[in-house]
Symmetry: C2
Subunit: 321 residues, 2 copies
DNA sequence: TTGAAAGCGATACCAA
DNA sequence: TTGGTATCGCTTTCAA
């Protein structure tokens, strides 16, 4: 009816009828049923499915914040899925969320189960794979090259003169960005004549306490470790607290390197050696690419938002280096 | 048609037809359109709208994780809204999300704009207000009594012998739980014969760096402050780092008290004086209450998940106390 | 400028 | 055990 035209401000009605319609809208407390609109078929929903591994790792909380703020401002809603780093969880979430006819999907990571890939390809909606930069994505991609970021950190620590280096992170069933980063790190250390004395992958969340007890484990088995690289700054801070509790001075006795340049880093009395990654911007960029595509604007399919090594003062240039 | 029955496993069809239907499902890569199901009206959607102020404050990231994990496991999806602590953002998000016919809403905070209240009452769906415990909620509520938690901390610090006490937190346009907490804190301090030398409410996110520079500001204007209470542990840690950078020893020169018992607390070499709040459980409980209501199971309408003061060692019992 | 009719996909109901 | 018919709220198309 005419009411529909008025509500959509389509034009083609008199001011008189407009007022009459609006009056009834107020009187009845009418709220449109967008389900019916989408269902009618000509317009798409404003849902964007967003999959995130977990929020205990602050890195992902920041990415999600970047995504949702931007989407919200542009009139879209995030339908969240915490996939807990497993492809099975992701697949089941994808199946469900697709049945709600989302306008698009933003997925963390580049690995998906075979069935998930099939569904994604058939969905015919924009898809942005984030986090792990991917030059041949399903559709679009924004992230950083984790292998390179790990490699750069490895090379930096080698250049500082460290040779016996440990790694402490978390692992999940799936090869993920952190694993890729570790691989790059190991390659650089070995290329440089160093040795990764231990690659510790805990089955836990990448936050403070696992960094603490992971360091305990690592030092128990490899007491001659000169420097430790962590999956992120939160773990690195946990590790640094363990070291201090044992009387190990940083960086005199042991070097500590984090990753991610998290909000805690700037307040520490010693600047944490880390890798800056623009998390918030990464999320915002993903949202922008999605919206641009939905608005039929031209979009670059792949964006690398880059990283930057922060030398800090928790590792030191060794005398012999 | 018969296909619908097969897909819903309703029974009343032969094995033969079932196989024929499933074959076509596979061949066509058919995915159901749940929009149409809900639209048809006989079943409700599996969307739960979840409003959260921001994710930069780790407290809320944990609450959201608790909610989404539980909802996801029970077959529901969170539609996220980051309301940035403003009632206007919340109102506009509520309007939008209601138009998608969610099965229910989980809202952070007990304050809502007048229009929001009207929409919520008319929506006729379950609503859980979380965070700030509310014995007369719109519908259901789970949280803690923030006034009391602030009061208890104030009394504790008074009992430790502190008299000139500062507060560092953030503020937003809206009276929120942190404001209530501060009010309880101030009341206890004043009742106990102490003085809140400064109530610093920064326009910023409640995280590390604002704690750092907030402390700088507070000490610049009130140099004789004996102890500082912070909005949360992240701010408190930022503050403690500022103090240490200025050579102030904790707790010998100044006492530091946080709130929330965040994941960083257990790894610190001095246990942070704080207030434990079961964030994850709070989120899970909210999700459980929602699901119970949707399943027509009996539900307690109001739940107080409680808090627990952690004495820690960043404040000390003063000699004269 | 207004309204009547058809259809989107799934399901409830009833008839075959 | 199967399938035709009406329905949900909205939009598109076409006629008045």
């Amino acid at each position: 009816m005419t009411a529909s035209r008025v509500l959509r401000e389509e034009g083609g009605y008199s001011e008189d009828t407009r007022l009459k319609v609006m009056e009834q809208v107020d009187r009845l407390g009418y709220l449109p049923n967008r389900l019916a609109t989408v269902f009618a078929g000509d317009t798409s929903s404003t849902f964007i499915g967003v999959s995130i591994p977990d929020l205990g790792n602050e890195v992902f909380a920041q990415v999600l914040e970047g995504i949702d703020r931007k989407l919200g401002r542009l009139g879209y809603q995030s339908v969240l899925g915490l996939t807990q780093h497993t492809l099975e969880e992701e697949e089941s979430w994808i199946r469900t969320v697709l049945s709600w006819q989302p306008a698009g999907l933003i997925l963390t990571g580049r690995n998906h189960s075979k069935k998930a890939m099939d569904m994604l390809r058939n969905a015919g909606i924009p898809i942005v794979e984030i986090w792990d930069f991917n030059s041949s994505p399903l559709d679009m991609s924004v992230g950083i090259n984790h292998f390179d970021s790990g490699f750069d950190m490895g090379r930096y620590l080698i250049n500082c003169g460290y040779r016996k280096i440990g790694y402490v992170g978390t692992s999940h069933n799936t090869a993920n960005a952190a694993t890729t980063r570790m691989a790059g790190f190991v390659e650089a250390v070995e290329n440089g004549g160093g040795e990764v004395v231990k690659q510790l992958c805990l089955h836990d969340t990448a936050t403070y306490y696992p960094g603490f007890y992971g360091t305990e484990q690592l030092l128990a088995s490899s007491g001659d470790t000169e420097c430790i690289f962590y999956q992120n700054d939160a773990m690195a801070f946990g590790g640094s607290q363990y070291c201090q509790s044992k009387g190990l001075r940083i960086p005199e006795h042991i070097g500590i390197a984090g990753w991610g340049d998290l909000p805690i880093a700037p307040v520490l009395t010693s600047r944490m050696t880390s890798m800056h990654v623009p998390h918030l911007k990464l999320g915002q960029t993903a949202a922008e690419m999605m919206i641009a595509r939905l608005s039929n604007e031209p979009v670059e399919n792949c964006k690398d938002v880059g990283f930057r090594l922060i030398p800090g003062s928790t590792v030191r240039r060794l005398p012999e280096a």
